[in-house]
Amino acid sequence: MTSLLASVAYETWILHFLVLGPVAGMIHVLASPAERAKRIALGWSVAVFAASTGLWWAFEPGAGFAFRFATPWISLWGVEYALGLDGISLFMVLLSTLTTPVVVLASFRYVATRQKAFYALVMLLAAGVSGVFLATDVFLFYVFFELTLVPMYFIVGIWGGERRIYAAVKFFLYTALGSLLMLVAILYVYFSAGTGSFSYEAFLAADLTLTEQLWLFAAFAAAFAIKVPVFPLHTWLPDAHVEAPTPGSVVLAAVLLKIGAYGFLRFLLPLFPDAVQHPAVTATMLALGTAGIVYAAWVAAVQPDAKKLVAYTSVAHMGFVVVGVFALTVNGLQGGLMVMLSHGVSTGALFLLLGMMYERRHTRRIEDFGGLARVAPLFSTAFVITALASIGLPGTSGFVGEFLALLGLFERHPVVAAVAATGVIFAAYYMLPMVQKILFNELDKPENRSFPDLSRREAVVLAPLVALMIWVGVHPAPFLERMGPSVEAVLEQVDRDAGVLLEAVEPGVGAALEQVEPGTGAVLEQVSQSAIGAVSPPPASDDIARAAERDATATGNTGQASRGAAEPGAGGRETPERRP
C-alpha cells in the first residue's frame, strides 16, 4: 500500500485535495442543474474520502507534522497557507471525510428544496472542516474556524425546523462571540511573539508570562468551550440540534463539536502550558467537565424529544473529552481523542437513525413510537448497537475512550474520576429508557405498524458507521498507536517549564473553590502537592518511596515517579517520560 501511495506522490497532494477537493465539488454543484446536485456532491465526497483513507497507511506515527506545506498568503502580515498533519488531526480529518459522503447520502430524501444550495454548503463545510484540522498557520486556522460557522448557520436557518431562526441565531451569536475573543488573543500572541509570523511554531515559541497566559487561555478557552460545548455554555446545542435538519445534526455532532476539543489539544495545552497547569484552571476545567458528564446525563434522561435527548448526551460525552484532556496524562489525552472519534461515529449514527424515524413519521417525540423492533428489525438492530456504543459498552468504540480518559484522570485526580465515572451509570439511565420506548413495548400506535425497515440506501449509510463502532471497540490499538507520539508531544510542550507553576500555587484557593464545587478542593490539594513535588526534592512519603522502589530501574530521580507508572516494554517503545 505504501509503495502504491508513493508511486502517485500521495503525500505531495493529499492535504491540498482534502481542502480544495470539496471546494471543487462545491463549484461543480453550483455549475450543474439542481437535480444532479446530490449525485455530484456524493461523487466528490466519496472521492475525497477514498483519497483520505490513504492517510491510514501513509502517515507514519511520530511527533510533529507530516506532509507539511507552506506558501505565503498575506505576506504583509506573515500569514501563510500552511498545512500539516499529525496524529491528533489524522483521525479528525478521517472522521470528517467519512462524515461528508454519509451525510450527503442521508440527505437524498430529507432535503427536497434548494438542493443546489444545500449540497454546495455541505461541500463548503467539508472544506472548512478539513482546513481547520490541517492548518498549521494560526491565522489560517482562524479563517477556516470562522468559515465552518457560515454554512452551518445557513443549513440550520434554511432547512431547519419551526424555530430554526432562533436556533440559528443562537448558534451564531454564541460561537461568534467566542471566536472574536479568540481573534483578539491570537493577535496579542502574534504581536508579543514579534516574529511577524502566524505559524504554529512561532506561537509555540512566544514567551508569555503567567498572567498573560491566564488571560489568553481564557480567551481561547471561551471560543473552544462554546464549540465543545462545555457546561454551562451548552444551551445552544440542544436548540441547534433539534432545529437542524438531519444532515446538519450529523455534521454538527460528528465533526463540528470536535473542533472545540481539537482546539484544546492543538492550542490551549501547548501554547499556554503554565496556565493549563495552574491549579485553579485545572480544577475549573475538571469541575466543568465532570459537571457536564453528570448534569447533561440527568437532563438527557427526561427529554421527551429524542433528538434533544441525543443532543444532551453529546454534552455528556464531550465532558469525558474535557476531563481526559485536562487530566494531562497520556492515557487521559488518548482517551479524550478516542471519545471524540467514537462520539463522532456513534452520535452521528444516532442522529441518522432519528432522522430516518422523522422521515417516516414526522415526529421526534419518543412517546409517538414503541414496538418498532417488530416491524423494523434491521433498523432496530442498528439502533441498539449504536446506543450501546454510545453508552460505552466494552467491545464497542465508546468504551475504549471512556476507559482511557477515566483511567488517565484517575492517575492524577482519583476523586474527580470517581465522580466522572458515575457517568457510566447515568448513561444507561438516559439511553435504555429511550431504546425501550422506541423499539420495544407494545406496537400500539397504528401509524407505526407501517413503519418501513431500512432501505438499501439507508443500510449503506449506516453500515460503515456500525462497522467502525465494532472495529474500534475490538481492535483500537492501531488507532492509539497513530495518535500516541503526537499526544506525547503535546504533553512535552505542557511540561517544558513547570517551574513557573510553583509561584502560582497560592494557599487558600482550594478553600475558595470548595464552595463553588464540592469535591474540587480535594483535587486542588492534590494538584498543588504534586506540583510542589515536581520541583522540590521528593518528600519521604510512603507513596513516592514505594513507587521509586518499585521502579528502581526507571529514572525516578525527579520525584515524579508517583503517578502514571510505566509499563516496561509497552509495545516495544522506549520507557515513557514520567509525569508529575
Binding site: K170, Y174, P232, T235, Y295, W298, V299, A301, T329, V330, N331, Q334, R374, V375, P377, L378, T381, L388, L393, P394, G395, F403, L406, L407, F410, E411, P414, A418, A421, V424, I425, A427, A428, L432, Q436, L439, F440, N441, E442, L443, S450, F451, D453, V474, H475, P476, A477, L480, E481, E488, D542, D543, R546, R550, R563, E567, A570, G571, R573, P576
Partner: protein, 733 residues
Amino acid sequence: MPSSSSSGATAPFADPASSALSEAAALPVQQAAVWEPFLPWMVVLLPLLGFVANGLLALVSATRSAAAVRAGGTEDSLSLDGGRPRTHRWPTYIGPGVMIAAFLLAIVNFAGMLGADLHEPVVAGPYWTWLATSSLRIDVALHLDQLSMIMMLVVTGVGSLIHVFSVGYMRDDPGYPRYFAYLNLFVFFMLVLVLGAGYPLMFVGWEGVGLCSYLLIGYWFADREKADAGKKAFIVNRIGDFGFLLAMFLLFDNIGALDFVSVFEGAEAAFSDNRALVTTATLLFMLGAAGKSAQVPLHVWLPDAMAGPTPVSALIHAATMVTAGVYVIARSSALFALAPASQAVVAGIGALTALLAATIALRQYDIKKVLAYSTVSQLGFMFLAAGVGAYTAAVFHLVTHAFFKALLFLGAGAVIHSLHHAFHETGSKADAQDMRNMGGLRAKMPVTWAVMGIATLAIAGVWPLAGFFSKDEIIWYAGAWAGAPGNANGSWYVVFWVVALATALLTAFYMTRLMVMTFHGRSRLGDAEQRHVHDSPWVMRAPLIVLAVLSVAGGLLNVPESLRVLVFGAAPFEWLHHWLEPVTHAAAEIQVAGMGEAAHQSPVGGGELTWALISTVAALAVVGGAFAVLRKRLYRTAAEDADPRTGLALALERKWYFDEAYDRAVVRPVLALSRWCWKIVDGIVIDGFVNLAAALARLAGWTTSLFHTGQVNTYAFVLALGVLAVLGAVYLP
C-alpha cells in the same frame, strides 16, 4: 495460535512475613508448565460463531414476520403449521451444536490439565493487543488455571444441557433463532469473563453478559413489564460496574498493570504499606460483585429478571452469570486476603443476603420468584464462604448450585410449559407460574416431580446429595473462622455462623413448600386443564435427568476427610480443594499468617462430622415436618385468594419493601432532580443569562438608534456638542 506459559501468579506470596522484600527476583524457581492447552480460543470462538449464524437467521426471520405485521397480521402469523421455515430449523442444530463442541473441547483441555500437575497459570496468547498507550498495555489472552477450568466446564457443560432443553421449551416461539443467537452470545461473553487474562478482559465479559441478560430478560420485548425488567437489570448492574471500573483504575495506578499475573505478583509489594488502598480496591470489586450476583442491597433486579424465558433463568440467573461475583472474588483472593476488613464485609453481606432472601422466599407464590430468591440466598452463601476465605467452599457450592438450581429452574420450566399449554388450550387466563394454580401435578408429571424432588433435597442439604457437602462446608468454615486466634472480628463470625444455620433450615422449608404447592395436595386445575398436563418431551427430559444425576453425585467433588465415612470412602479426599490449591494457596497463606489457623470445631464445640450429622437430621426434620403440615393445607387458586395480608406476611410478600424504598429514595429524587436541572437550570438560569445578554445588546442598539432620527438638525447638534467636548478636553486643564 501461539501459547506461552508464564510465571506463577501466586509465587510471590510464598513468604508473607517478608512482605515488602518479596520481589519478583526472590521467586522460588518453579518448573515450566508442561501442559499445552488445546485450541483454548476455539472454546470461546465457537459460541460467537453460533451467535453470528443464528443472528443472521434471526434477522431474516424477523424481516419476514415484520412484513407480515406491516401487512396487517400479527407476529403469530408466522405460521409454523406449513412446516418449520429454515430459520427455525437450523438454530436447533447450530445453537446446541456449538455448545456441545465447546464443551468437548473444554473436556479435552481439562483432561490435559489434569495430567499435567500444573502449579502456575498458563496464559494462552496474546492473540492481539487490545489497548496500548505508552503507559498501558492490555493484551487479549486467555488465563487458564484450575479455577478458570472449573468455570469453563460449568459454563459449557450446564450451558449445553440448557441449550438442548431450550430446543423443546422455545420450539413454538416466533423468535426462536433470535433466542439462540442471544443465548450463544451470552455463553461467548461468559467465557470471556471467566477466561480473560486480566481485569479489563474480564470486564468485557462482565458487561457483555449483562447486555445478554438485558436482551434475554426483555426477550418478549412487546410486554412492557418484561422490557422494564431488562432495563432495571442493566442499570442496577451498571452501578456495580462502576465499582469494578474504579477498582481497576486503583489497581493500575498502584501496580501499573491489569493482567492477573502481574497484579497478583505486584499486589503485596504495592499494598503492604497501604492497606487502606487494597481495602478500597477490594470493596469496589465487592460493589461490582454485589451488582452482578444480586447481593443486598443490589439484589432487586434478579427477581424481576424472571421475566425472561425460564431456560434463561436457569442458565444466566442461576447457574452462570450471577456467580460471576463469586468468581471475581475467588479470582482476586490474593487481594482480598490483604484486606481483612473487605473480607468481613463480603461475609457480612453474604450472610445478610442469604437470610433476607430466604425469608422473602417463604411467602412468594410465583414458582420462579421462589427460585429467584432462593438463588439470591444461595449466592449469599457463596459470598459468605468467600468472605471467610473458604474459596474452595465458595467454588464448590457454585458448582453444585449450578447443578441443582439449573435443575430446579428447568423443572419449573417444564411445569410452566405444560400448564401454559393447558391454559392456552382451554382458554384459561390463569397464571401458569403461580403455585396457587398448581397442586397435585405429581401424578401427571412423575419425571419432573422426581428430578425436582432430588434437587429440593440437594438444596436443602440432605445427605448424601450435592448440596449437603457444599453447604455444610460453608457453614463449617464460617464457624471455624470465628475461632481463629487472630480474628479480631470473631464474634461477628459467630453471628454469620448462626445466620447460615438458620438460613439452611429456612431453605429446607421454602423448598418443601414449593414442592408441596406444585406437586402434592389437591389439584387446583380444572378438569379440562388436567387433560393437557403431562411430562415434557425427551429433548427436555434428558437434560433434567442428567442434571439430577449431577445433583446427586456432585458432592463427591470435595468430601473432607472427616466426612469420608459418610460416603464409605468412595470419594477422593477433598479433590476440589487440592485441585484449586495452586489458585488459592497464596490467599490462604496470607490469611493464616494474619489470623492463624481456623479452629477445628464450631463456635459451640463439636467436630465437623457431628455438625454434618446434626445439619442433615435438622434438614430432614424440616423437610418432613413441612411436608406433613403443608400437604394437608388447602390452598386456594390465585383468583380466589383475596385475603388481605397483614404484618410480617405482608412485609415478606412485598419483599421487605426494597423496591418501594428505592423508588422513594433514589428513582423519584433523581427524576425530580433531572427535571429541575432541565427546566430551571437550563431553561431559566443559563438561558436566562443568554437571553438577558441578547436583550441588553438589543437595548444598546435601540438606545443608539434613538440618535438616528434622520433629522439633520439633531445630527448637527450632537456634532457640535462633540466638538465642544473634545475642545474642552484638550484646552481645559
